[in-house]
């Protein structure tokens, strides 16, 4: 499907493979963050709390938090690549000007970059799943589908990040990104069930793409298949599509003057 949508997207993806063949250590660093949270919050705070109700039963706190950390690892992988790295290439590297002088078009460019940022998310999620398996935090074999499910998270945050980045004027604007990302990480049903929020606030939190992503991954990890997972997928796909379309349009405005 991608081949027909953007035939040369894969060559853009390949460029990043060239770059990171030598810089793989940078990718590895992103793996540690969710691990630290698992140890500090999942086991540290979890040691105080013990268990937490999930789906009508009490589950170990670490097992409850771990799927959310997996989802946010995918989010981080995708968003850091689609914001910082793409901003550099867009503003300073002149990389895109060179690429667009070849048969590659802006659509290929966006798809190629999104594939790459998604790969980063999938790598983090997979590595974290291995940690979860090692710690005995996986409650169902369906958890093995989690690295596939995070593709929806990766595309939505990658595309949204890309779209936002096309509006960034300088590195200073990235401060705003953290103002959004930190609460997104903390409040998206990551460390406690979404039911805790009162009334309207809960529905705002339900709209957070990370809440949807976490719900998707958590459902898989607990083997709790439900119809709301389809809502998660539809919602994340819609964000991906809107973000992608906007990013392509903005690339046209910025680069094809």
């Amino acid at each position: 499907m991608i081949a027909s949508l953007a035939p040369r997207a894969f060559s853009v993806f390949e460029r990043n493979v060239f770059v990171y063949r030598r810089q793989w250590l940078i990718i590895v660093t992103g793996f540690f963050e969710p691990l630290f949270f698992l140890l500090g919050i999942g086991y540290g705070v979890g040691g105080v709390i013990g268990t937490i109700p999930y789906g009508g039963v009490e589950v170990p706190y670490a097992a409850f938090v771990a799927p959310a950390l997996l989802a946010s690892a995918a989010m981080n992988g995708a968003i850091f690549d689609s914001t910082f790295n793409i901003f550099y290439k867009l503003k300073y590297g002149k990389v895109y000007d060179a690429i667009l002088s070849t048969p590659v078009g802006v659509g290929d460019l966006a798809v190629g970059e999104l594939l790459w940022s998604n790969l980063r998310g999938v790598i983090y999620a997979t590595a974290f799943l291995v940690v979860m398996l090692a710690f005995g935090l996986v409650q169902s074999p369906l958890a093995l589908l989690a690295p596939l499910a995070v593709v929806f998270i990766g595309f939505s945050f990658g595309a949204a990040g890309f779209a936002i980045t096309t509006h960034m004027r300088s590195w200073k604007d990235f401060d705003f990104l953290f103002i959004v990302l930190t609460p997104l990480f903390l409040f998206s049903a990551t460390f406690y069930p979404v039911e805790i929020y009162p009334g309207a606030l809960r529905w705002i939190v339900e709209l957070s793409p990370l809440t949807r992503g976490t719900h998707l991954v958590r459902s898989l990890c607990f083997g709790d298949l439900n119809l709301f997972m389809l809502v998660d997928i539809a919602y994340l796909s819609a964000i991906s599509f809107i973000g992608y379309r906007h990013a392509v349009r903005r690339l046209g405005v910025l680069l094809l003057k």
Partner: protein, 316 residues
């Protein structure tokens, strides 16, 4: 100009008619007509801001035109940009090399952008590194290369897919004279190999040395067209007498200037006189009571053509 479209004429690879590009209220390119023929070395000569780069971008299909027609290989770049770019090599004025990759990787990934097979790219990359004397730097990062080397690498990269047309935007700006001549030689070799080359420049000597045919652009319009020789014959006299007046030229009487040669241009500190015989014109200037600090006689160049057509020098 005697440009009839007889059957013996080489086919036009690029054809523009009334080509126009407007940014907001400003016309960057204002209704220009030109044709680039198969196998020729074609130049856009003009000062910065004349519209040369915008024209190049429209040809490469990365800047949609506002109006007029434009055909490359008989196709519209706004509709078939990708196919057209597949047969064009582009060297930007600003360095666009990939600083995150090595010299050789810059060539390899470009081949992939053109959809070439990996094995074919590797062979071609090594060939180009050899040709542009970069083989011993193949594994190095791009950043520490000299300006001349970077420019050679940019050109090598643009040739990875053996394009029919090579487009260079101000290729020697910022290079030292030696690097410049090396580059000119390389471009002439490419031309002999059958590549059609389109270049923009604001250097008269570059246009004169390299171009078979060129258009002179000024303020978004084409003001003259022809071979360098033709342009000089048509728009300039045989010789030029330059008189220097460090204290300014405003006080010099028009009548005096008109009497020295065929035509004159008055600049801030120089008077440039077009004439048949520079020595004789100098003698007349002294007879008229002019007292220049220094003077020189030279053959007319494209610089004089530009001055004649626009009343300005290129670096103004």
């Amino acid at each position: 100009m005697g440009m009839t479209n007889s059957a013996s004429e080489p086919t036009a690879l690029i054809r523009a008619q009334g080509l126009t590009k407007v940014f907001g209220a400003r016309s960057a390119v204002d209704g220009i007509d030109f044709e680039v023929r198969d196998g020729e070395f074609f130049g856009f000569l003009g000062p910065n801001g004349a519209g040369k780069t915008t024209t190049m971008r429209m040809i490469a299909g990365v800047s949609p035109r506002t109006s007029g027609t434009l055909e490359i290989f008989g196709q519209d770049p706004d509709l078939h940009g990708s196919e057209i770019r597949g047969q064009i090599g582009v060297v930007h004025q600003q360095e666009t090399l990939d600083m995150e990759l090595t010299v050789r990787e810059n060539l390899l990934i470009f081949g992939r952008f053109f959809g070439m097979e990996r094995a074919a790219i590797a062979t071609r990359a090594d060939e180009l590194l050899e040709l542009f004397q970069l083989s011993d730097r193949a594994k190095d990062q791009v950043e520490p290369l000299s300006g001349g080397m970077k420019r050679r690498l940019s050109i090598a990269r643009s040739l990875i897919a053996s394009p029919r047309i090579l487009m260079l935007d101000e290729p020697t700006t910022g290079l030292d004279p030696q690097a410049r001549h090396l580059l000119w030689d390389a471009l002439q070799r490419l031309k002999r190999g059958g590549t059609t080359i389109v270049l923009t420049t604001h250097y008269m000597d570059e246009a004169e040395q390299l171009c078979d045919r060129l258009v002179v652009m000024d303020q978004a319009k084409i003001v003259a067209e022809g071979s360098p020789r033709q342009l000089i014959v048509e728009h300039a006299s045989r010789e030029v007498l330059e008189l220097r007046f460090p204290n300014g030229t405003e006080s010099i009487d028009v009548k005096v200037l008109e009497g020295i040669g065929d035509r004159y241009e008055r600049l801030a500190e120089r008077v440039i006189i077009g004439c048949e015989n520079g020595e004789a014109a100098h003698a007349r200037a002294l007879e008229h009571g002019l007292d220049p600090e220094s003077w020189l006689v030279r053959r007319s160049s494209l610089e004089d053509v530009f001055l004649r057509l626009t009343g300005r020098t290129l670096d103004e």
